[in-house]
Each structure stands twice: as structure tokens, then as C-alpha cells.
Amino acid sequence: MIEETPSSQPQRRFTFAIRVEPRLTETASWYPALLSFMAIVVALLLGAVIIAAAGGDPISSYRHIAKASFGSLGVFSDTMVKAIPLMLTGLACSVAFRMRLWNIGAEGQFYLGAFGASAVILLPILSDKDTPRWILILVMLVAGMLMGALWGFIPGYLKAKFNVNEIISSLMMNYIAIAWNNYWIFAVWTEGGFQMSRMFDKNAWLPRLTDFSKTVPAFRGLTTHFGLVFALVAAVIVWFILYRSRWGYEIRLIGDNPKAAEYAGISITRNVVLVMMLSGALAGLAGMSEITGVVHRFQERISSGYGFTGIIIAWLAKLNPLVVVVVSILFGALLLAGREIQPSGIPKLIQGIILVCLIASDFFLRYQIRIVRQGED
């Protein structure tokens, strides 16, 4: 070390410095996608460290996830089955989040959608044996979406009328929805005291790929159901609403700048209620498609946190409805394969880490890190 005399010029050993500064120019179009990808890679690495620390084997866990979800046509079909409700709840969250309306209640709206669809058969409104199949499914679809929309309407109305924080009210509605469903499952529609209703007649099931195995032998055993079509159509419709319609313009303007929207004469309260209902209807559709496509009866614990995973999916897809479809498949894989991984909390943990890394990475959309020569400006 050289002692510096006070009179001498300070000698800098490092002539370069790292500087964080706001981005002034638009980023390249591929940059946000790359950033999200990097965030996921970092998240998986962090997840590996935690799995190892908890006494698991991260490499075999990840290999297992990949194999058990994309390893063959059969398991990929199962992945799609898991992805269908995720697509719909992801869309539900995207629509609401685009307006910066925090609907955390997709889980409850999912449950109510399942209730609505089941009620058509169990109340009974229509017989599941004699009604023409497509009429029955259409009625169940409408009932599920209506119940979901109703469950979204309540926090939306409270927000519009009393300025009640929709994050908490929609979340509280989740717990109420589960208790509501449980009442009907245990007290009214139970089959022989078990926590499930009777099985619906095959007439009320959504068509599955395996139903067509007579004409296309490759479809034998594939459980992907018609809900996939619902989800894809919903994604296109939601994309159209958000980016090609006047209503979508209002939604996006309120999300970006509520004051400007108000000055432009857009009713925020009306849109709060409507968007909450649309969001609820999408989540309700997810519940309906799960009941008629997968479970085929009304029972407990039909959701493995689809409503909450939808939040992460929406954020990862940057609220773009078409990207939601792709991202949902990845998370469907995680949920499907995660069931067999020990310890059982790992899929939830990985989801959490992914979301944390993702929002942290957003910083680099707004800021850039530059290495500058010292003294240069």
C-alpha cells in the first residue's frame, strides 16, 4: 500500500465503475422475453439450492418433472389437462391485472363455477341422461360462468361503491366459496356419506380425445378434453377485447393512467364491476371445464391452487392472453409432475421463487446497467 500525501492527486485503482441508470430508449422486442427466461433459469437454480438444502436431490427432481410431463404423448396429454384450468384462470387474472384491478379471487370463482355447472345436474335443472348433450354442456357452461361472474361481482361492486380493497375482499371470497361448496357436497349432494356427489352420466362429460380412438387409434387413453377449445377460444376473445375493442382500450387506459381515463369520460366504477365479472366468468369457466372434463362429479378439493397459479401465469405472460396459453402449459407440467415429488411443497416453492425472480427482473426493463470509465460522463 502506498501512503498518499494529502497534496498528491488521489490515484484511483479502478478506472471503471458500474452505473445503474434509467433506460431512455425502447428495449428490443426480444429483450423482455429473454429477461423472463433468465428469471426462470435463476429461479430454477435457486430452487435447486433450496431442494438440496432441504435434503432432496434437485437434478433428479427436475429430470422427473420434465419426464413426467413431456416424456410421452400420454403424459403430455395429462399436462394439457392440467394446463386447461390454468389457461382460463391465467386469462381471468390477466384481464383484471391489465386494469390494475387485483382479483386474487380466481380460486373462489373457480369453485363457484364448478358449483354452478354441477347444480345444473344435481339440483336438478336438467337431467344429465335425457337432455341433448350439447344443450346440457352449453347450459352448464353458462351456469358456471354466471356463478363465477357473481363471485367476481361482489368484490367488484364493493370496490366501486365503497372503495373496499378488492385484494382482500376477493381473497376472503375464496374461503367463503370453499365452505359454500363443502356445505352442498357434505349436506345435500353427498353420495352415501362420502365427500362427493354421484358420478354424472357420460352424456354430461366433455368429449375427450380418447372418445375418438375408434377413428384415430393414436388417441387411445388421451384425456385431453374439449375444455382446451374453450380455453383457446377464450384466449382469442380476451385478446380481441383487450387490444382490438373500445372496451379493451378503456381497460388499458384505466390501468395505465386512471386520472387520464376519468378526464376522458371513462367510467371507472362501471369498468371495475364489469372487468371483475369478466374475470370471474373466466375463472368460473375453468371450474366448469374441470368438473365436466376431468372430475365428472361434484367433490372436494377440485383445485390444486389453479386460481393462485393463474396470478403467476398472468404475470409471466406479461398479461398477454396469447402468451398465457403457452405459459400455462409449462405450469401444467409443474403441477402434474409435482404431485409425486417429495417434499410435497416443492411445486409451490418453485412457483413462489419464479414469481419473486420475475418481478425482480422487471427492474432491468426500466433500468440499464452500464460500465463507464471513471471521470467520463
Binding site: I104, V164, M172, K348, V356, I359, R366
Partner: protein
């Protein structure tokens, strides 16, 4: 269905909500919205119980829960304060992370058996007061007594001390606080840390004192979210937070006890004769949270009060005033 017993147990289970609510009040008063309360409470409950199982000493459980949860809360602090991310999403992420982490680290804990819990005792003299003595001072856990000490202290600290003034300044008008030489960033990190530590304490209070054990996500069953609702109801005031917490605690106990007797006020008790009506009772705490939010929000509009002005907004030094 003895009202005194319901209130006594209500005060005990309300203590959990009290700690969580006080912690969130600190964070929000400094301008940082932390929706990760539920996840942090789970981490606290899990780490406290796990430590108590391993060491056999519940006091270590408290220490580990408070320190570990405090550290976890700094993830949210860094993302919200320095990375300026959306605090709603960051808080949700913390809830997911906390839930997942506590499930992974708490694997197998639910079969851990019995452990030694935090002590319960009566306060001499005070417990002799008719009715009130039985409700508040007889055979309560030490955490309940800690709660009695804590909320007036928090109230005094926020409203009548110099650091409390700085806390409020940072949450209401960070640019002005910054101009006066207060380090906005440092204070916000500090109060998110305080919030995290109190959330950890709340979790530890569940698993080591109020309803001992580890029942994965059911350990907290949404109490973190109820606490966030209580913060709004309390208008960010520790005194009102205490009242709200104890009332909610009593409600939880009432729901359990109301299914016991054959008659209520001389009428047949429907909850006894049809236990399935219990599902509607289960909805009550959550429905009541929404009711409480409506009351709080209407009052806020009427009195022209509201959340801390800078709540949820990142502070960027030198770039803009609020």
C-alpha cells in the same frame, strides 16, 4: 357457551392477529404495502415449531421464528424499495414463496408429537378483578400478556416519539422527509423488517401457544389476510387494531362454541341439530372481514382519512417529489 370463556379464548387467539396487524401497520406507515403476511406467518409458525421440536425449548422457537421471518421479509423490502417493483405482486410473491418454503421445510412436522409450549399463568391481583380479570389476566399465555404491553407501546411510539414522527413522514411525504435528512430507504427497510419480525412472532404464537402444532397451510388459515383487512379497518392505528384483533379472536371462538348447546336463547340450536350448518359458520370470519372493510372504507371517506399517502409508491431519490 360461557361468554367469559369465549372472550378469554378470544383474547388469546386475537393475540395472533394483533401481532400480525401491528407489524403490517409499521410497514404500511413507512409506505411499503406487504401482502406477504400470510406467507410470513406460515414461515414463522413452521420455523418456531421446528426449532422447538429440535431443541426442545420453545423460547428458541420464538427467536428463530422472529429472526428468520425478518430475513425473509427483506426479500420483499429489496424488491419493493430498491427494485421499485409493484408492491402488490411482490407481496403476493412473498406469500407464495413463504407458503412453499414452509411446506418444504415443514415436511413431516405435523407428526412431530407434543412439545413443551410457552408458559401460561395468571397475574396475581389483576386476575381477581370480577369478569375482566378472568377474561384478560387469568391463565393466559405469556404471549397474550406481551400483546397487552406491545400495542400501547406501538401506539405511543408512532404518535408521540421522534422516530415515530420520522416513520410517518416517510410514509406520507418521503420527498420532504428526504429533504430533512431522513434516510427514506433505510427506514423503509427497517420497518419492513419490524413487520416481518412481528409476523414471525404471530406465526410462532400460533404454533407454540394458541393452537399448538403444524398443520401446513391450515396453521394460519387466512389469518394473515384477515390481519391486512384489520389494518385498513384500524385506520393504521394500533389501538383500533387491538380492539379489532380481540373482537375477531372472540368471533373465531364463538364459532367453535356455538355448535355445543342444545338451545340458544330458548330456541332450538340449528347448529347443534344440523352440524352441516357449521360450514356457514366457517364463512363468518371471512364474511365479517369484508363487512369490517366496508365499515372502515366508509368511515375513511366520511372522515376524509385514508392510507398513508405514499403507500405502495416507490421512492426514487432526487427524481420526483410525491
Amino acid at each position: 357457551m360461557d361468554p367469559v370463556i369465549i372472550l378469554q379464548a378470544g383474547v388469546a387467539s386475537g393475540t395472533v392477529l394483533l401481532f400480525a396487524t401491528l407489524g403490517e401497520i409499521f410497514a404500511e406507515r413507512s409506505g411499503v404495502l406487504n401482502l406477504g403476511l400470510e406467507g410470513m406467518m406460515l414461515i414463522g409458525a413452521m420455523s418456531a415449531f421446528k426449532t422447538a421440536v429440535v431443541t426442545g425449548n420453545p423460547w428458541w422457537g420464538i427467536v428463530v421464528a422472529v429472526v428468520f421471518t425478518g430475513l425473509i421479509s427483506q426479500i420483499h423490502a429489496a424488491i419493493a424499495i430498491h427494485l421499485q417493483a409493484d408492491q402488490v405482486v411482490s407481496g403476493l410473491a412473498l406469500t407464495f414463496l413463504g407458503t412453499g418454503l414452509s411446506l418444504v421445510l415443514g415436511e413431516g412436522l405435523s407428526k412431530a408429537g407434543t412439545i413443551s409450549l410457552l408458559p401460561s399463568f395468571s397475574i396475581p391481583l389483576l386476575s381477581q378483578i370480577p369478569i375482566l380479570g378472568r377474561i384478560f389476566f387469568s391463565n393466559q399465555s405469556i404471549m397474550v400478556y406481551l400483546g397487552y404491553v406491545l400495542f400501547p407501546l406501538c401506539w405511543y411510539y408512532i404518535n408521540y416519539t421522534r422516530p415515530g414522527l420520522h416513520l410517518r413522514a416517510v410514509g406520507e411525504f418521503p420527498a420532504a422527509a428526504d429533504a430533512l435528512g431522513i434516510n427514506v430507504y433505510r427506514l423503509r427497510y427497517l420497518y419492513v423488517l419490524v413487520g416481518g419480525m412481528l409476523a414471525g412472532l404471530a406465526g410462532a404464537t400460533i404454533s407454540l401457544a394458541i393452537s399448538p402444532g403444524w398443520f401446513s397451510e391450515m396453521t394460519t388459515s387466512g389469518q394473515g389476510w384477515i390481519a391486512i383487512g384489520l389494518v385498513i379497518f384500524s385506520q393504521w392505528d394500533p389501538m383500533r387494531a387491538a380492539a379489532g384483533s380481540y373482537i375477531f379472536g372472540a368471533l373465531r371462538r364463538l364459532i367453535l362454541d356455538i355448535q355445543g348447546p342444545l338451545t340458544i336463547f330458548g330456541y332450538r340450536n340449528p347448529f347443534y341439530y344440523n352440524p352441516y350448518y357449521g360450514f356457514f359458520l366457517q364463512m363468518l370470519p371471512y364474511a365479517f372481514t369484508i363487512v369490517v372493510l366496508v365499515i372502515g372504507s366508509r368511515e375513511a371517506i366520511r372522515k376524509r382519512m385514508g392510507s398513508p399517502a405514499a403507500l405502495g409508491l416507490p421512492f426514487i431519490r432526487g427524481q420526483r417529489g410525491l
